[in-house]
Amino acid sequence: MRITELFERGEFVLTAEVGPPKGVELDHLIKDAHEYLKTRVHALNVTDNQSSVMRTGSLATCRVLKDEGLLPIFQVTCRDRNRIALQSDILSAALLGIENLLLLTGDYTTLGDHPQAKPVFDLDSVSLIHAVKRLEEGFDIAGNAVDGAPPKFAKGAVVSPCSDSVDVQLAKMEAKVKAGCEYFQTQGVYEPEKFIKFMEQAKQFGVPVQLGLIIPKNVGMCRYMNANVAGVHVPDEMIAELQADKEKTKAGDTGVEICARLIRECKDYAQGVHIMSLGWENRIPEILDLAGIAPITPVV
C-alpha cells in the first residue's frame, strides 16, 4: 500500500526509521519490527547507507520486511548513484512491490566510514522526485519511453522546520512539491513553537507533513546534535530536564516522556509522526501510549 492512501483517508500516519546492519543478518531488525513496531506504526523507513556509513542496502531490506508482512519505505539518496542507477533502482523497487519512497539528496561522503569515496550527486532530491514522477508518466528522465504499465509510488521527502534558515528550507520544500512530492517527514523537532509556526507557512503547499522525532537519549547526544546536526536544536530547558534525574534519563524514561509531550503539543498541526529511535525501537510503544496514540491495524 502507498502511505499517501492513508493520508487521503485522513489517518494520522505513524512511521519509524530502521537501519540495516553492516552485514546480512537481519534477524534482530525483523524481531524488533514485529515486537515493537508492527501494531504501532503504519510503515518503516529503511535508511540508505545512513550517515554515509556502508551497510546492507535499503531496497533488499525493504523487500525482506515486506515478506514479513510489514510496510517498508525505501529511502533513496543521490550520494552513491548517478541518474542511471537511481532510475534503475526505482524500477527495481516497483518490480519488488515496494510502493513507498523517501527521496533525499544525502549526506556527503566524508561524514561516513568511507571518506575516500567519490561523491556522486548527479541528481539531487528535487530532480530525483522529478525523475520518479517522469517514470510514473511512462518516461525516463532522458525522455525515453518505459515499456509496459508505469510504476506508481508514494513520493516523500524531508524538510527541517527548526532550521536556522527556515525560509531557505521552505523555498526548497516548495520546489519539492512542484516536482511531485506528496508527503514530508521532518528532521527531529524539539521546539514545538517553531514547528507550529513552520506548519502555518507550510500548509499553503497542501501536502501532509509528519512531525519528525529523534528520541533524546542523554545530554551528550543532545549537545552533539546541537553542535553538529543540521536543522536540530535541543533547547537548554530540555537539556536541564535530562540532567535533573540522571537515573531516570539513563533508564530512557526522560527521553520517552519528552517525545510523548512533543507529540501531544504538535499533534493538531501535523498529519502524522515519524520516529527516529536510533536503536531504541523498543521504546516506541511507550512513547505512543504516553502520547495517547492507540495501536493500529497493520497495513501492507
Binding site: 556527503y108 566524508t110 550527486f121 530532480s127 534558515s165 531557505v168 512542484k178 543540521a230
Partner: protein, 205 residues
Amino acid sequence: MLITQLKSQEAIEALAQGKTVIINCHGCKEVYFAEHEADAFQKELSANKEVTQIITTDYICNPDNLKLQLKKHTDVINAADTILVFSCGVGIQTVAALFEGKKVYSCCDTYPLPGFQGVTPLNVDCGQCGECYLNGTGGICPITACSKSLINGQCGGAKEGKCEVDKNMECGWERIYRKLEKLDKLDNMKYDAPKVRNYNNPNAE
C-alpha cells in the same frame, strides 16, 4: 585554455532590462572569446535596447583591478539597472560581488580546454560547467559555492549557515538565497522544471 561561448541572442536580449551597461573582458590570452561575434551582437543590442555604456577592459577577475578599471564609469554604472558581463565565470562573479544590489548577468558559458588556464584563480569560482547558472543565482556559482554542486537549492545539511562538509565554508545556497532576497529575485527559486546537469557538454568537468 578556456572557451567562453556566447549564450543565445534571445537569452541575452531577455536579460537586458532597463538601463544596461555591458562589460567585456579581454584579459587572458588563454581564453578563447568570440570577440567579433560579441561586438556585432552588442551593436545590434544597442540599437534595440537601452545600452548606456559598453566597457571593454581586462582581468576583471581581479577585484582591485576591476574597481580601478571601472572607476571612471562609476556614474553610468550606478544609474544602470542591469550589468551584462561577457567574460569567463570568474569575471562575472567578481562583478556581481562588487555591485551587491545590481542585477549582474552572464552572457557566456565557460568550457575548459587542456593547457594553461589564464591568470584567473580557476578553482575558486568557476567550475567551467559549460551551462552557466549565474543568471538564476544572483551571480554566485552553485557549482563551486556548494560542496555538492547542487543546482536546485540547499541540501539541508548546513548548520548556522556553514556547510556540512567544511565548517569554514558558507553554505552556497544560503548565500544564493540571501543574494536573491536582496535583489528581490526570490522567484528565481520557483522554477517549474527541476534543473539537471548536462555532463555531455564538451570537456565539461
